[in-house]
Symmetry: C2
């Protein structure tokens, strides 16, 4: 069935998928389990930073007015009356000619208004008292980190939708987020189709190959921020396939199948969508690889029918399923990041439809380059392992030459808020 | 103590650390738990790919010689004697004028030497038999994926030291790696120092701040591929600090402390190294931030004494501790990736020592740019959350201007095999 499929454009397919975007619920996880999760609420300052005027150095808190006459030729002497470490508070208030020894991070003692670092002082004892001598003058405010000079109570420091990374984690800790509000991860079911598929621990047999797509998709799902749930292989019996798909749909947020969407005799997925009464959003995209990529919707849940061809499966996931997952998580950059760059090798094939070429991206002398990896035969698994980018060649173009400027989707980039306009 | 510290260069510090590099042991993890782990052995093909000559299309396997006379004006008719799906094997051998219907991925039937896709045929029934008509000739080998055309048995497909990503996972599955050989993760102990530090779930008090470094380092350790083990806060008592450090050293592969390495009165770490009899590799690096970063070695184990200042702590970890961890894991690119790029804003401060500026990296029209984030006051936690790069300004330079070419370390890049030459 569906021999007469009408191809739609890539961006139309993405838009169709995102019409069924959902926002995941919030959940709270302990701060040290929040790595790589997506924030579901902004991080707000619950206090000023610094929270008080403090010393950024190890040194002495002085009254600047006491130092006015100090110079190389006229050093002045000041009495050290107390020592305060970080986290401590001074108990004395220095009078004229008195200072407090102070450590980095400690609160400025009352009555002092400048910090003199250790290195600019000479310390000595006299008559059981400790003194320092100083050879230059200081102004009020010298070497003080002032309250709120970095951040004010209530400031939004990181927007919702950002991923937790080390620098974000530091902020979460600073502002007391012992539990972090993140998006619940959606559960993505995966079914493989194909009687030729052996599992990873099965021995090879004539005519059969090992199932690689399910494992690859498992990693793509994890990388996209969701939880994979692998259901195994659909058998070659239509009724049992139908029931398996219908049952799995009840347990997941999205169901992905690999294979079974082409025009082969055992490509059951189109008939399953039919029998379910699912709304087929599209069953052909004007792109290579992945033209048979199909997405259907049933009761608001999406069924992604990805190609059984590894490259097509990979590309279909990244272009269509990843944005859905990232939307669910609340990411503001759900799509692959697109950059310009220079092609490092000829690509002589014509491109009747937009083509995504597995490539390796490099930066040389401040410029972005991309080199197609391997032969780019559509069944080539090996080249996917060496790709970190997809060169995008527009449909309706002839060959491209080394040195041509091209567009490049980054597989490990920071993402983009824009849908690829192809 | 150590007021007279002699600064060494950044690359000398990295080299000193890597003189104590260790190679972690191998462990085998189930394939679906191998994401982001580093391969400890290369992935080798255990069979050819394709493993047999196969059809890359849904169509008909023909004897090319039977089609020689076919043309638009002279269509030929061929009898369909069997259908074979992917994973199946033909049971008949076509004679003259006979073909086998074949699905994508199925093994080429004996006696056939070309594939004709569905779309180029007309199928019809006559006298209880199925026939197709073809309007063009095919050559032997047309539309066949030949055995081993992608990969030969025994080929090394991915080198040891690579991280498991979706494309790598696909290869692991293809070649039967149900258990994946990866490097055991090292355990990195973390102790914070500073009486001013409150834990994330404690209320603020005058003179105190929340501990952010330990949480940040926890994330950096995870990101670098290791297991963090947080010991809490060292108390302000030298003997108890000493014992805590000595005990922790026995339980970890590396011990990191944050704070306590400067010249303040309560900076105990130098004295602890002394009492341990540890070999202090260096206690000052000619760089900003992080000049007081100290590394000591005791019985072959490293103690990283990172600064208590968040930015300095962050930079010290990335430049020194990360490469040690990545070496342990067997990565071939243990250092931060360095690229050239263009500065997007003036940076007027002089740089007596090499300076690492927290920055945001962007790619615009195929070129790399970096913009310093925030004020870059050395205590600024907030800017770390918005950085994904460190602009590297060489020591002995004056200010830099917007548009100047600079070097940039990528915090989320693919890494580098080269030590930064600064």
């Amino acid at each position: 069935m569906y021999l007469d499929r009408k191809p739609i454009k890539v961006h139309e397919a993405v838009e169709a998928v995102l019409r069924f975007a959902k926002a995941g619920e919030i959940e709270y996880v302990p701060i040290n389990e929040s790595d790589y999760r997506i924030l579901k609420a902004p991080i707000k300052a619950d206090h000023d930073i610094p929270p008080f005027d403090r010393s950024p150095l190890d040194g002495f808190a002085v009254r600047a007015e006491d130092t006015i006459t100090a110079s190389q030729s006229n050093p002045i002497e000041l009495e050290v009356i107390e020592t305060v470490g970080a986290g401590g508070l001074a108990t004395l208030i220095p009078g004229k000619g008195q200072v407090i020894r102070i450590m980095t991070g400690a609160k400025m003692p009352e009555g002092t208004d400048a910090i003199v670092m250790f290195e600019l002082t000479n310390e000595f004892q006299r008559e059981g008292k400790t003194f320092i001598s100083i050879k230059r003058a200081f102004k009020p405010g010298d070497n003080i980190s002032f309250r709120a000079e970095e951040t004010r109570n209530g400031d939004v420091l990181v927007e919702a939708g950002r991923q937790v990374e080390p620098g974000v984690k530091a902020l979460l800790a600073t502002f007391g987020y012992s539990k972090v509000p993140v998006a619940r991860k959606p559960i993505i079911g995966v079914y493989a189709t194909g009687t030729e598929l052996l599992d990873v621990d099965e021995a090879l047999e004539p005519g059969k190959i090992r199932n690689s797509n399910s494992y690859m998709i498992n990693s793509q799902i994890i990388k996209a921020g969701a939880i994979p749930k692998y259901y195994g292989k659909l058998v070659d019996d239509f009724e049992r396939c139908y029931e398996a798909v219908a049952n799995a749909l009840g347990e997941v947020d999205v169901l992905i199948t690999t294979g079974g969407v082409s025009v082969g005799d055992f490509d059951y997925l189109p008939a399953i969508y039919d029998k379910l009464g699912a709304n087929v959003l599209f069953n052909k995209i004007g792109m290579r690889p992945g033209s048979v990529t199909t997405v259907a919707e049933y009761n608001g849940k999406l069924l992604f029918g990805l190609s059984g061809n590894p490259s097509a499966c990979y590309v279909g996931f990244e272009l269509l399923a990843r944005p859905w997952i990232q939307h669910y998580l609340g990411s503001k950059k759900p799509h692959l990041q697109l950059v310009q760059g220079i092609l490092k090798a000829d690509f002589p094939k014509p491109n009747p439809f937009v083509r995504f070429i597995r490539s390796k991206m490099t930066i040389e002398q401040g410029k972005v380059y991309a080199e197609p990896v391997g032969l780019d035969k559509s069944g080539v698994v090996t080249s996917l392992a060496n790709s970190d980018a997809l060169v995008v060649l527009p449909g309706g173009t002839r060959g491209f030459k080394k040195g041509d400027e091209v567009e490049i989707l980054l597989l490990n980039g920071e993402g983009s808020s824009e849908i690829l306009k192809k």
